[in-house]
């Protein structure tokens, strides 16, 4: 006896197990999808709860206005966050000075000048640069960039802000270059052709047409790069030292927020000590900084996007 397709469908529809599966799967998948939301909630709650414990021992005002960070002192431990923020800003500042001109120039070159063949080779190579683990960059900063800098400027110490700053900059070049290039490539060809037809040179097209049109995307890429530089951990842990300082010196050892967290985690600050809770307070500050940058980047690329 032959069953028709309709009968087969009707028969399979009646299967109870199948009905249950069709009902259960969406629920299960929803639970899985909510893990990412739970992770965010987990991060925020963890940071807030442990930071509040920290503030029961160290006054809030001491933390956010203090300019001395001396957590390991037995007699007079001080927890003023500013030296760590200054350290982070030094690294970020140098990184941006290195990465923004090179990254945006590379993006302009790739989107306006380079032939398809060149682009096909250069873009994957830049991706390789983006895929190198940060620990490798840290090793490079410590064993190559610092000695090279020292041979030119003998006053630079073995741990300093300049070398890791430059290397963090190298690390974020691919990110700025590829995001800016995406923004420039999305500028319609017709606008470019219009300018070229009016007799513009390629540089004039890039500078007066493409870059202004893609500005929101370019700025967003720089802000995301900033956020990456602020959160970068291993390069600064290896090459920047561990001396929290509240001054403008770049040649000596400094400490960033991320490097402090690593320093404490590496040592054996017991669970429940003030130092243990301090890494959450520092982590929370770091989280706020990067979150502000990420939201700003998202806002920039939405708000100033020019629609064609």
């Amino acid at each position: 006896m032959r069953t028709s397709v309709q009968e087969m469908i009707a028969k399979s529809k009646d299967k109870k197990s199948k009905k249950i599966i069709e009902k259960l799967i969406p629920v299960l998948l929803f639970l899985i999808a909510s893990v990412s939301v739970l992770t965010t909630i987990g991060i925020i709650l963890t940071l807030i709860i442990e930071t509040l414990t920290f503030f029961t021992r160290v006054p809030f005002t001491d933390f956010i206005f203090g300019t001395t960070w001396l957590p390991f002192s037995n007699t007079e431990a001080r927890f003023g966050i500013w030296p760590l923020i200054i350290g982070t800003l030094k690294i970020t500042g140098i990184a941006i000075i290195v990465a923004v001109p090179i990254g945006i120039s590379a993006a302009i070159y790739l989107s306006e000048y380079a032939s398809d063949n060149v682009r096909r080779v250069v873009k994957p190579v830049l991706e390789v640069l983006a895929g190198i683990p940060t620990i490798v960059y840290g090793f490079f900063a410590l064993t190559f960039v610092t000695p090279v800098l020292q041979s030119f400027f003998p006053e630079i110490k073995i741990f300093n802000a300049i070398s890791p700053g430059i290397v963090v900059g190298i690390m974020i070049i691919p990110m700025i270059a590829s995001l800016s290039e995406d923004a420039m490539s999305s500028v319609p060809k017709s606008i470019r052709d219009g300018a070229l037809a009016m007799g513009s040179t390629k540089f004039e097209v890039a500078w007066k047409i493409t870059v202004p049109a893609a500005l929101s995307g370019i700025i967003a890429s720089v802000v995301l790069g900033l956020s990456r530089a602020i959160g970068e951990t291993m390069i600064v842990s290896l090459a920047a030292g561990s001396t929290p300082k509240f001054d403008g010196d770049f040649t000596g050892s400094i400490q960033t927020m991320t490097a402090y967290i690593v320093q404490v985690s590496k040592g054996d600050a017991g669970y429940g000590t003030t130092i243990y809770y301090s890494i959450y307070a520092v982590g929370f500050t770091l989280f706020l900084f990067t979150m502000a940058m990420n939201i700003l980047a998202g806002y920039m690329s939405k708000r100033f996007r020019e629609e064609y």
């Binding site: 992770t39 620990i135 989280f287």
Partner: protein, 292 residues
């Protein structure tokens, strides 16, 4: 009346062409500089570390003496870590992507989840370490085990896998879906038999790239307290372990110059692992990528 003053245009043309040339040179130079950084970095590491590479280096445990230091515990530890991270992150990542693309109604909750994923991708890895320390190491009492580290890393790369899987699923043409429904298939049947097989290349490629990020991450491991000097191999997921980047970090931060060679050799091993994973990803992309 003439709108274009021919002479003026001709006179200025030269200067404009020169400016164009100069900037073209500058932009090219900047691009070359970025590529040069990569070449120097790779050359330095290979020239420093190649001398220490040997079979002994791969099968020896860490040692106080540079000459005897090996990477066995770290290499095996990283493989253990991946054995936890790969299934965990892929189940969570692909599941989330399927929900967002196939089930979720476009609305507040969906766009909130989507925005949350984008923001999560921007959280520094060291902060994920703090999350892992509190939730997995302390609250769930997993200690500094493979499982605790694996879960932490899975959450870290989750946004990357979700986004990659979403893109792969989105690129499956609607006709395939419609055809499947027209044949009487249910939603879940369509997903399992039509959509996921069609999207598998993209999903795997994205996942492998995300895993290669996890294998090179150091900061979260330090924060959750993964030790460095280990003279045994983990026997299960509840055992403690060490990983390639941890071992490299430890060698790099030692004052003796000899350990720098050892660290460079360790980096070569890590980069070879990364190169292997990336080649697999490229292979999968070329081999199984169907274009519709």
């Amino acid at each position: 009346m003439r709108y274009i003053e021919q002479e003026k245009v001709v006179r200025r043309m030269n200067g404009r062409m020169i400016v164009n040339r100069i900037f073209q040179g500058l932009f090219m130079f900047a691009t070359a500089l970025a590529l040069l950084a990569l070449v120097i970095l790779l050359y330095r590491i290979v020239s420093q570390g190649a001398g220490h590479l040997s079979l002994d280096f791969l099968i020896n445990f860490a040692s106080r003496f540079p000459a005897e230091a090996g990477i066995k515990a770290a290499l095996v530890g990283s493989i253990w870590l991946m054995a936890v991270v790969a299934p965990t992150s892929m189940i969570l990542g692909v599941g989330s992507a399927v929900y967002l693309e196939e089930y979720a109604k476009k609305g507040r909750i969906t766009s909130f989840i989507q925005m949350n994923i984008a923001n999560l991708a921007g959280v520094p890895s060291v902060v994920f370490g703090l999350l892992g320390l509190t939730i997995f190491v302390r609250t769930l009492a997993l200690g500094n085990s493979v499982l605790a580290a694996g879960f932490t890393m899975s959450l870290l790369i989750l946004p990357v896998i979700i986004v990659a899987a979403q893109e792969a699923i989105r690129s499956v043409p609607g006709e395939l879906r419609d055809a499947s429904y027209a044949m009487g298939a249910t939603r879940w049947q369509t997903i399992v038999r039509i959509i996921l097989p069609a999207a598998i290349a993209g999903i795997l490629t994205g996942s492998i790239l995300a895993l290669s990020r996890a294998i090179g991450e150091t900061a979260p491991l330090i924060v959750i307290g993964i030790p460095v000097i280990i003279q045994f191999l983990p026997a299960g997921v509840m055992d403690t372990f060490t990983a390639l980047p941890m071992q490299i970090y430890d060698w790099s931060s030692r004052p003796q110059a000899e350990f720098q060679t050892v660290a460079a050799a360790g980096i070569i091993v890590l980069m070879v692992v990364l190169l292997f994973m990336n080649s697999v990803a490229v292979f999968i992309r070329n081999k199984f990528d169907k274009s519709y």
